[in-house]
Symmetry: D2
């Protein structure tokens, strides 16, 4: 398709910043992709268990999205529209309203932020402060919300926080996520104690920002009870509830929102990643109408009108969310995934634990070193898979939700063999 | 193309956040666009003097970019690649290296940040602090750098800063841009005095962040001498020079970088807007290699691998920057624009002044009220045009650089008539 | 002694700021004082169970301190010395070294900060950041460290934090004090979990700042084991240990430092309140020599050389700390106090709990309303006593350590009667 | 008076923190002092041209203050009173009201803050934010306001700011003091331009904090016109005017407040240093009643009721401010001082300039090295004198206002000779 030098990776080493990361784990050059398969320039296929970190829930290059997008481009559809009204945007909004908001009785307004998750999070944090007149936002251990200064202040990871170069990441207070102090500690009670105590030093919060499943933080999945508790504490203390569904949303856990079954109505919901369907940059912030007190242009962004993404996002909603069949298939695959991973954890790894929910699953193998070896072995055997967690100790399965069962199974076989290959020698060595 | 309700704007009023802005000035729904023409769903054409705020320097839907992108999509080219190596990315980097960096002797590394200008600015600010171990970043009056918390701290506009909801926008110190204190004040000398004085209260800066032409701030154009002065002061005080070329770059002023003729080599250059050529979200930060001390993933973003944008960006470079002909045509149009706007300022408006440089031009008409009326009149007559400046007092011409001369002239005719229509009654009224 | 208007309190209402507080609880005008007795201008005596909030551990106007101070003044001893060498300062330092530091094997340096506790705390926080190159200081629920912006950021009380007028109180992270989550929660383990987890969002701390007994926070007394745990966690994580002994120090708990029996060696110890002996403003920061990396004048303050205070502080050390007899008497009175207060709590108040340690004791009566009524009743009956705690729910006994047993007993009788008077009607009403 | 070791300074080197500073310039031990004379333990007299950095405007150990204080102590007057009503406090307030506030028509309330200047400044900054609901406080180049975190954020000196250890000194914006950009620059106009421009990046200020004469910053004296300009700009922009008269107040410039002749009424006035008369720690914040919105105890401090200081402060007011004779004598001495210093500057030093106002005067000798040598030579010849300014380039005369003319003259003779001794060789060397 394009011409470039023989050593395909040389140009990256020569000219791309040291900040690059995934390409270090997968040192090859990809040319094309379809559903759960990535193909390199020399024709090798890989099964994709990374899926753009949950950005490609519908797989690569869905044919219906492709077709709609090609038609749109061919017809000179507006590509870049700032926040001007366009057909493509209207169609997306109407479809989102019809298939997502109305069925759930949600009257949220849709804010089109700059097309990145971190931008939607920044908008949410700014708006929560503006609405409440308070500054502190409660964030959680192992939370990840983005890398720009506002979102980064709510992100827990020390290596990522180090990128601020020592600048003050003020404005947040940190509370334990469910399970952070072990199974026995009642973190809800502790959070409530902190907020009820006027001498705790935790100022009255503007908002709580929480992920129902912590993707980057190690696939920690909060229970319905815990999420309801957070919602209750937030309401009691006059704080808004921001549920960051950027990674766990859009079907990943078996429902459109990851909290669909949780009986909570967040005040704001940042969304991005799989929302556009085809991996094109797009982000929105859903806002309860009573909180939508923005002045015009008070938060904006040049690329908030990425109409190509609106086109594919609309097709994705129509194709996958017009009825429950897709969600049901995800739940079924999620059960299969759970069984396979549980078996691996039990049979191959002592002390390993299953993490996550739906098709957002992983195995905590106990150390980042082991997890890294397993992933590297997988890559050698044709599987793209990555780690997460505070110590990179969780091997994370984020396959496209549309992956065929046989391919899912094949990928899990590779994973199983890679675990076995890395664990067996260790056991032998230990004996 | 898509089905939607009869009243095409109803859905926006019903469901889109109050943050929306441009659509309020242009209350119609656009369906398609080609070069400098935007077409509504009911077939009305508008001349586009906004060009996505300088994101569409090559106009809408350039046929070569369209073709390349359709081919790429049709061939299942990787759309979303995180920061994995892809053909499309390699081809962009090689082309950018060959046509932009090498001819200028620039050894900068390319960092692919989240695909928004604000994200590239955030990365630059974080890295400058990390490199220098200092915190303060010098920003300028009327500067605009983005809306996420880090970039917003460097942005001057009070209405936009209000969006932070009172959260601390710390970490920057504000200095006067060239001309901010009138033509006679030597702002360079004042800045130097502040930094030379160890009791000034301005801490040793990590960086200066400056736009060669301030787009949002009122089309203020810094002189070569002033920019060199800032570069010298930065170097003298051990601070990095970040030149934000997001709006003024990619040919807008008649050269690829707006500072190409200025004899300076910035340490970092955030780029976005027109970089992708077709208006698709894309941003990079150019970094001198000695400052590229990021740890892997220390700054990242899900959509940093927007390969569709890499495809169109490569085509744009090849088509418009393989030789000087495009740049020469821009300079020629810029001269024409200058003449026409000068005439309008002189003949129709007393006390109005010409602002800007190249094809980034405007007229300061003295008040936001008048500027708003002129733009509204233009819209009624088929021209999309907007204001900028601290008081929205500048009518801003940001036509596609590829606009045909006749269409540019026609648009200026509309502008001239709209000025006349709004100024004449005022004169009469004043008499 | 001085002439003033008939209505002695009118001038205060007329001209003193609304910030005044204690005078609202004790609406009379005091003229003189001796040991534990305060006498008003019209000759009424009050027993003083407030003792300047533990500033008057040796009572009012100790005759030996008075004599030495009068001699010093009469001989034109330097009153104000900035940080110049004076006889009085040398004598204080030598005495402090001989009677306090050397017997404990402490090689700490003495920093004379501005003569207020908050200033010593500010110096400690600044120095901890300078020494470690880190920013976050771990402070505890219900901690009180002062009212200037640095110290206030470590203070928990919401009403006091509100005084910052919304300014950012950044730079601290808040952890639970022993018992903050109930008797069963292992707060040490939780703190350690937070710091061990690189994704907790708690940045590597510069220091822990902790009071062995929280005076303002409700007379919460940490155990030896807990304080050792904090010391261990601090050391493990490269953080300095700042033990704020401003209120609990100088004998209040039965030893000179409140942590003398705890087997810990703090890196820094802010001291103030009773240090000068006679209630004159004086504060010091004790610093382990390896951390004393201040540049000359890098932290200073006009009144850091309050030589009158140095004179009385020296006399206090010589008189009360040359042997163990004073400390023994304090412990004996503390036991007596414990017995009396326990009896009151058990017999008069259901659910009341004893708080504190040594002669820093109180009863948590369950509500600020009841505690306020009890104190008001005490005042009517000749006893100065105040509340503390997050809800002002603790009636606090801070008698001079030198109070005669009979007067201590008499004061406690008043307290007992006042509790009875306020509890009985409530019980009757409840029946 | 006290017993201590033979080498009187050894104990300081052994045990006092490295933060100590003045004692390094004056390496001797002082025992007693009277008016403008400091006497060492071995009987050597020094003329005091430092006067506790303007804390001893009435000299050391004024006999009337001494007598009143000794009487007060002997009669068991309350020494430490928290903020409880005492005779001594009432008498001070009434006297201050009668002799200072009423004659000037000032209805300010008096807030007794912790007894240090920095504490009064912190209170002012907090209150200004609380009153206005804004955060930014405008501070000036070369301003000095204290060393605790709030006040330090308004202090310009880089060496002092370094003491924060890198912690964020946010919440202030820095503007040029009169003359900071040279005699020709109109700093008032520039400040107004910055505040009038809604895109300047300077947020609407809560307050301006300004010293009429910058003591630590180099004896820069603002003109009446400039101070009025600042007052006008503050009022226009809804900001409070805080005039920090800690160093320049209490007669130093020839009037009680340094701005008495300036036709301005500050919203808040932090006072400290010479207010107590005898050098005892005391500070107040004067607040216009409409801004006195503190909740009780919202800002407090243990030593805010330093009654010894109230006694001497009252005597000082009665003795020196009952009529104009003292102020007249100060003005006369100020004129004499001006003449002598002008002569030295003109005759001995080329390019030296006179700084300051009233009896707050100095010579800018062009370099800190020369100024340091001159002061060291003075000390060898029996004169205590120090430098100030961003580069320590100003030799500063801060003699007690009560110094006899002959002693003032004698001190100036020493200074003149010391200049000559240090300048002559340099001239010779230069020839």
């Amino acid at each position: 398709m394009n011409t470039f030098s023989t050593d395909a990776t040389a140009v990256f080493n020569r000219r791309e910043s040291e900040a690059r990361s995934y390409c270090r784990s997968f040192p090859t050059v990809f040319a094309s992709a379809r559903n759960a398969t990535l193909t390199t320039s020399d024709g090798r296929d890989y099964i994709d268990f990374l899926a753009g970190c949950s950005t490609l829930n519908y797989g690569h290059n869905d044919p219906d999205m492709k077709a709609a997008l090609i038609d749109y481009i061919a017809a000179d559809g507006v590509a870049h529209g700032l926040d001007m009204h366009t057909h493509a945007k209207a169609a997306f909004i109407e479809t989102f309203e019809r298939l997502v908001l109305k069925p759930r009785g949600m009257d949220h307004k849709i804010m089109f932020t700059g097309p990145t998750g971190t931008n939607a999070v920044e908008a949410a944090m700014k708006l929560a402060r503006k609405v409440t007149g308070r500054q502190t936002i409660i964030a959680f251990t192992n939370g990840f919300h983005g890398m720009t200064m506002g979102a980064l202040s709510a992100t827990g990871n020390a290596a990522k926080r180090a990128g601020a170069g020592g600048a003050s990441l003020a404005g947040t207070a940190r509370m334990p996520y469910e399970g952070a102090f072990g199974a026995d500690a009642d973190t809800l009670a502790q959070i409530e104690t902190m907020l009820d105590n006027p001498s705790s030093g935790i100022d009255a919060p503007a908002a709580f920002i929480v992920e129902p499943v912590q993707g980057e933080g190690g696939l920690n999945a909060a229970s319905k009870k815990w999420m309801q508790g957070i919602a209750r504490i937030a309401r009691k203390h006059g704080a808004l509830l921001i549920v960051d569904d950027i990674q766990a949303g859009v079907g990943r856990t078996g429902t459109f929102f990851s909290f669909d079954d949780y009986g909570i109505v967040p005040d704001m919901i940042p969304m991005a990643k799989s929302l556009s369907g085809m991996g094109l940059p797009m982000a929105v912030l859903l806002i309860k109408p009573e909180h939508d007190i923005w002045a015009p242009a008070e938060h904006n962004g040049t690329f908030r009108g990425n109409n190509h993404a609106f086109v594919t996002a609309r097709v994705a909603l129509e194709k996958f969310w017009s009825d429950d069949s897709f969600a049901a298939s995800v739940r079924k695959k999620g059960d299969f995934l759970e069984k396979r991973l549980t078996a691996m954890a039990d049979e191959l790894l002592s002390g390993a634990s299953l993490k996550g929910r739906g098709m957002m699953r992983g195995i905590d193998v106990g150390s980042g070193e082991l997890a890294g070896k397993i992933c590297a072995e997988c890559f050698r055997n044709g599987l793209i898979i990555e780690t997460s967690g505070a110590h990179d100790e969780v091997v994370k399965v984020l396959a496209p939700l549309t992956i065929p069962m046989e391919q899912l199974s094949a990928g899990l076989d590779i994973l199983e063999n890679s675990i076995a290959a890395n664990v067996a020698p260790m056991r032998v060595a230990a004996e």
